[in-house]
Amino acid sequence: MKIENEEALDRLIICQQCHTLHEEIPIKDGTKAVCTECGSMLYHYDSRLVDNGLAWSITGLIFFIVANSFPLVNIELLGHEQFITIFKTFLSLFDSGYYLVGLMSLFLIFLFPLMIFLINIILFTLLKLKKAPQFTKELLILFSHIKPWSMSDIFLISVLVALVKLIGYAQIHMGVSFWALAIFVAIDLYITKRIHISEIWMLRKRIFENKGNR
């Protein structure tokens, strides 16, 4: 196989799932390219990537703040009212001496999801302003390291599992934060599915190459 120079490597893509080598071809706005071997998504082309990314990230952050501000669930057990918030979940672990699990939960269900959305917002804002080539690079690297450890979706399912265990023992009322968390998770999944990390790298390259400072 022959290529012009090292720059041309950026037009090559190795499929995330099956590791087949592909060459990037131009596609129509709003469409996606899929792997010929396994059918998994390779990349999208979206001319409004930055605006869409920014809008979804801000919306997601708002729902995340709501999800953390009110009770997720209220229950009535033996005549007593009890409720949980995301914070109470790891505080109770600290209270009973489970510092390690408490700390892990703090990162997995609070700090990492929060950081993912903050990074996205800063990143898309900087790309929109065509500023800070070096900092956007560092943000993208940080994003890739954190992303696998953000577990809001798993936490949401865990809340449902915990509640099913309580059916029959307690009266259960869903709180505002539960729905906010569910929407936050949906937005998170949508962004992950819609915006592939390598698309942001390509976009960053185009933006800063045109400005002549890489």
Binding site: M1, K2, I3, E4, N5, E6, L9, D10, L12, I13, I14, Q16, Q17, C18, H19, T20, L21, E37, C38, V73, L77, L78, H80, Q82, F83, I84, K88, T89, L91, S92, L93, S96, Y98, L100, V101, G102, M104, S105, I109, K137, L140, I141, S144, H145, P148, W149, M151, I154, I157, S158, V159, V161, A162, V164, K165, L166, I197, S198, W201, K205
Partner: protein
């Protein structure tokens, strides 16, 4: 024009850029990340994996959840919890916990052991694509084994009355350590070694 060997093309695990491998260690041309030395990555993966398997033993022997009810203290292990749920007719939840806490971790151990062994010994040589998919799948479903830990944390936060209280058990820590190290092992494993 440069002539390149397609087999020397590697994917950066951080930014997904395609790079030309320059032997033991390659610096990604796009993000600058070090795409690690093959031998050391296998050794690291083994070390993390063995730690995870060791932690998984107490995670199953000790109680995950302790219920204190009117002076009676009762602990239930992961498997015990699944059996209780099943007996009470909560089949879907019993199945979810069984999958998340037992099937996924054990499957991940076995798949990683298989992949790590196949790096050294020629097994499954013709199944390169399947191995990549297997690896991708373990990466994708791995974090779901945290479900039971979160469930215990939620129940402990929710149920703490004077007469009825739920607290996390020792197994929660062991299990969380096991999940953590399995994830580290999977990340440390170098996909390029799949042949």
């Amino acid at each position: 024009m440069i002539e390149i060997d397609e087999n020397a093309l590697i994917r950066c695990p951080v930014c997904e850029a395609v790079n030309i491998s320059t032997g033991d260690e390659t610096l990604c041309h796009r993000c600058g990340s070090r795409i690690s030395n093959q031998k050391s990555s296998t050794q690291k993966a083994w070390a993390y994996l063995i730690t995870a398997i060791i932690a998984y033993i107490p995670a199953n022997l000790y109680p995950m959840l302790i219920t204190k009810q009117f002076g009676m203290i009762e602990g239930s292990t992961i498997l015990g919890g699944v059996v209780t749920l099943w007996e009470h007719g909560s089949y879907p939840i019993a199945a979810i916990i069984f999958f998340a806490s037992i099937v996924i971790p054990v499957m991940k151990f076995l798949i990683l052991i298989y992949l790590l062994i196949s790096v050294k010994y020629p097994i499954g040589k013709d199944k390169k694509v399947d191995k990549h998919k297997l690896y991708y799948m373990t990466e994708a479903v791995g974090p779901w084994s945290m479900i039971d830990v979160f469930v215990v944390a939620i129940l402990a936060a929710l149920i703490h009355l004077a007469n009825v209280e739920i607290v996390a058990g020792t197994a929660a820590t062991a299990f969380a350590i096991s999940v953590f190290f399995t994830l580290l092992a999977a990340h440390a494993f170098d996909e390029r070694l799949i042949k």
